[in-house]
């Protein structure tokens, strides 16, 4: 009798574990993996899915079983057993979840440090609560300057190659500055004249983003990379990824930023290095010939080159542009399938001149 019971229980548990493991590998819940970070993410996610599926099946199975097995039969007005507690059982269901969540914590920490989706270097600044001056922003934009104040961070970012070098050393990260404004993304490739509203990156090369917001909070999200970072006015945040799959993926604003938040999307194109190089050349040519780009850059002036007053005026202007002319901008955005840089730039030029 007792042995039969043990066999039954073991069988049920093995079945639950088998089902959970199977599901964790076959759930199909996530979009395609397009970055190395996504591979790490998915392994962690699948492990968690296995754990939560097992607990889910155990609990729901237990509930359904109890509802059938222990339902009150007609005419039975007696009570169940006076079972108040069971010390061993309670220790078990305290200890097992504790061990599980600790394991999840350690594994998550491990994945987090190897993803480094966000840059350790910028972090000490992000919680710096003093008023943000242009000097601080300059510091943020130059993590190398921070290196000596942070001995625990040996990484020296000054090794980075300017992203715009047409013949780039692909072993060095590609740096792109991202500026978010209602309701568009603007990407500048430092070291070049290139300012675009769609991001292009070569496959297999590490990309570092310096993200900034012109008006309100936004968030830069590429579901296929499993990465997201808020962009916050006055603070530069960072993000790193290594795209590993050719294709075009959405860049989605994930932080509520106003009426057309849902329309604040663009694309990132992961290209072969050759395609990427020719795209760079094309864009560089367009950029040098286009007066709009200059106007565009005006809005995005490098904050490190500005005085406090200039910086704040820029910020205030950027916000006022948006506030005074909301409907026009909205209509304009509505008409655009992709926020094309030239339209955007000419639009902003006219908007700025009215101020």
């Amino acid at each position: 009798m007792k042995i039969q019971k043990i066999i039954q229980i073991t069988a049920v548990f093995s079945l639950i574990i088998a089902a959970s493991l199977w599901y964790s590998q076959n759930h199909g819940l996530l979009p395609v993996q397009a970055a190395e970070e996504a591979v790490l993410y998915d392994n962690l996610f699948n492990a968690l899915i296995a754990i939560v599926t097992a607990i889910f099946l155990l609990v729901q199975g237990f509930i359904i079983y109890s509802m059938i097995r222990f339902r009150r039969r007609k005419g039975d007005d007696t009570d169940g057993i006076a079972l108040h507690d069971n010390f061993v059982l309670e220790i078990v269901w305290t200890a097992i979840p504790t061990i599980l969540v600790m394991w999840v914590g350690i594994y998550s920490f491990d994945v987090y440090t190897s993803m480094k989706g966000t840059d350790f270097m910028s972090m000490p600044m992000a919680h710096h609560h003093s008023p943000i001056s242009a000097e601080q922003i300059a510091n943020l934009a130059m993590p190398a300057a921070m290196a000596d104040t942070l001995p625990s961070q040996p990484e020296i970012d000054s090794q980075q190659a300017p992203s715009g070098q047409l013949v780039a050393d692909s072993s060095l990260p590609l740096v792109i500055d991202v500026s978010a404004m209602r309701y568009a993304w603007i990407f500048t490739y430092p070291g070049t004249e290139i300012v675009t509203s769609e991001m292009h990156v070569p496959v297999g090369r590490k990309v570092k983003l310096n993200l900034n917001a012109q008006d309100v909070n936004h968030a830069f999200w590429v579901p296929q990379f499993r990465l997201k970072q808020d962009t916050i006015p006055g603070i530069t945040t960072n993000m790193e990824f290594t795209p590993n799959k050719l294709g075009e993926y959405p860049i989605i604003c994930a932080e509520l930023c106003g009426g057309y938040h849902g329309g604040m999307r663009t694309t990132i194109t992961v290209q072969t290095p050759t395609e990427y190089d020719s795209w760079l050349k094309e864009e560089a040519e367009v950029a040098s010939n286009s007066p709009q780009t200059l106007a565009f850059r005006q809005v995005l002036k490098d904050p490190t080159q500005m005085s406090d007053r200039e910086f704040l005026t820029e910020q205030a202007q950027a916000m006022r542009i948006d506030k005074d002319l909301p409907t026009e901008i909205h209509d304009h955005i509505d008409r655009m399938n992709h926020h094309h840089m030239h339209e955007m730039a000419s639009y902003l030029t006219s908007a700025t001149s009215t101020n």
Partner: protein, 554 residues
């Protein structure tokens, strides 16, 4: 608002000598905790219906990928006010002010709350504050989400609506603090002779923990709101980066309250479940002390996990790791509760009627929300899922599948006591089935939406998500319909239902020892503490240990 004030001053305190509660008292500044409890429950249920109406419009808009039903500003206003109403005008006041007021004095054998007038004041803040919030629709509703992050909330086009929102939050927070003070004092000082903390029903433990959280966290929210109000109205720069303010500080202050707020909304419901399961399973609650202490433990941990809402905000790494560990640890006391409830069912005689169905539904749905919560506690997982529909799914499993299912369980369980009449069981079951099906159809697919790349708070979305959104909208529609059987059942039974006896469920807690509905002074004589709150069941030694597991009990 003026109407309310007139009403307050025009009405005299209730006549203490009468032995039934006159219906007019429910519309007056009554100091009777039972009247106040029912005032809370009815008022907040009204707000729940309004919040549900807004949710229906939101789901109708999302049935198609384009913005075609309401303007995008109105859409943002709808989800902002929907969330604010559901949190501050429905769940928080219903579970603390509503059930807490009605039940705590009855459960501890007291005649009333410690400060009856303060209690009435706390309630009467709510209707005007709610009316104020809803009035914002006439001026351009607040449209920056219930989180109201600056700089968006400072630069918003709906200045008036945003200001109204801030004022009503401050008012509702005040009401919440007043109620919490009252609960703490009542539970500490007004228990009847012979009732120590460990013979108190678990609902009282839950209310005590939730009140502690309210007292610690709500003032911080009030502070954040006042600073935000100055930024919005007086042009100060606490959170405005243009003038040197820091928008991330607001997020810290906001979540220092708003994460514990989740526990304020769920702990009392844990308490409700811990009351209902033993009565309708005919078994003692399993692990009384473990459940009581886990409430306190959740309360303490709940205060140090707030920044897990900010994993993508540029929080320093060491902070992320700290908050990740703390967040994951919340799963331990929560798991203890869930496992204890399951063990309470085991070997019982389950009376599968509406109260127990909703209570079991609560356990089942809350577990889903808890498990997705553990996943979100992991920093890397959260970075992908933050601000997506996965989050929307997660917190609706906690707050609807959890809190609202639990509130319904409480309605069905205590309705006979409060009103003196029984609810119709058939329509109760219809209500349960429709709610369960509609809820899961609406919110389960949202996990997938978020994982696949649909952000929250959008009126327009990628057409690839259209089909799943249609399913969600159908579920929401069923959920809306599911309210009607309950409403009609409650309204009809209130007047025409079969009379309830004093103790229709054969329960052991003190509220069932008085008449249904109770005398205005709760008991005509002195209440008698005959048994512990959960002394159900046939003693263990009358059962063969083996029979428990082999199915020969019956």
């Amino acid at each position: 608002m003026t109407q309310v004030i007139e009403r307050i001053s025009a009405t005299q305190p209730p006549e203490p000598s009468s032995d039934t509660t006159h219906w007019r008292e429910y519309f007056s500044f009554s100091t009777d905790h039972k009247v106040i409890g029912i005032q809370y429950l009815v008022t907040t249920f009204g707000f729940y219906l309004l919040g549900g109406l807004m949710a229906s419009v939101i789901r109708a808009e999302l049935a198609t990928p384009d913005t075609d039903l309401v303007s995008s500003d109105l859409y943002n206003g709808l989800f902002t006010v929907h969330a604010t109403v559901m949190i501050f005008l429905w769940i928080v006041p219903a579970v603390t002010g509503g059930f807490g007021n009605y039940l705590v004095p009855l459960m501890i054998g007291a005649r009333d709350m410690a400060f009856p007038k303060l209690n009435a004041v706390a309630f009467w803040i709510i209707p005007p504050a709610g009316a104020l919030l809803l009035s914002s629709f006439f001026f351009g509703a607040p449209s920056t989400g219930w989180t109201a992050y600056p700089p968006l909330s400072i630069l918003t086009d709906q200045h008036v609506g945003q200001a109204i929102w801030i004022f009503s939050i401050i008012l509702l927070g005040t009401s919440s603090i007043l109620a919490a003070v009252n609960f703490v004092v009542t539970i500490f000082s007004m228990r009847m002779p012979g009732m120590d903390f460990f013979s108190m029903p678990l609902f009282c433990w839950a209310i005590l923990s939730a009140s502690g959280l309210v007292l610690i966290a709500t003032p911080v929210l009030a502070g954040a709101m006042i600073l935000l109000g100055f930024d919005l109205l007086a042009g100060t720069n606490f959170f405005n980066p243009t003038g040197g303010g820091d928008p991330v500080v607001y997020q810290h202050l906001f979540w220092f309250y708003s994460h514990p707020a989740v526990y304020v909304m769920i702990l009392p419901v844990f308490g409700i479940i811990s009351e209902i399961l033993p009565v309708h399973s005919r078994k003692p609650i399993f692990g009384y002390k473990a459940i009581a202490f886990s409430s306190v433990f959740i309360c303490i941990l709940g205060l140090v996990v707030w920044a897990h809402h900010m994993f993508t905000s540029g929080t320093p790494d060491w902070l992320r790791i700290f908050f990740m560990i703390a967040t994951l640890l919340v799963a331990v006391p929560t798991g203890i509760k869930v496992f204890s409830w399951l063990a309470t069912l085991w070997g019982g005689k389950l009376r599968l009627e509406s109260p127990l169905l909703f209570a079991i539904g609560f356990v089942s749905m809350f577990v889903v929300g808890g498990l997705s919560g553990v996943m979100l506690g992991s920093v890397p997982v959260d970075i992908h899922l933050h601000d997506t529909y996965f989050i929307v799914a997660h917190f609706h499993y906690v707050l609807f599948g959890g809190s609202v299912f639990g509130i319904y369980a409480g309605f069905y369980h205590w309705f006979p006591k409060m009103v003196g009449r029984m609810l119709n069981e058939f329509w109760g079951k219809v209500h349960f089935v429709l709610t369960f099906v509609g809820f899961n159809l609406c919110f389960l697919p949202m996990h997938l939406l978020g994982l696949q790349g649909m952000p929250r708070r959008v009126a327009q979305y990628d057409p690839q998500f259209a089909n799943i959104n249609v399913i969600c909208s159908i579920g929401a529609f069923i959920l809306a319909i599911s309210t009607f059987p309950f409403l009609f059942n409650a309204a009809w039974s209130w007047f025409y239902g079969p009379k309830a006896v004093d103790n229709p469920w054969n329960a052991l807690t003190l509220e069932w020892t008085t008449s249904s509905p109770p005398h205005p002074h709760n008991w005509i004589g002195e209440p008698v503490l005959a048994t512990g709150p959960y002394d159900y069941g046939v003693p263990m030694d009358e059962f063969e240990e083996e029979s428990m597991f082999t199915g020969t009990i019956d």
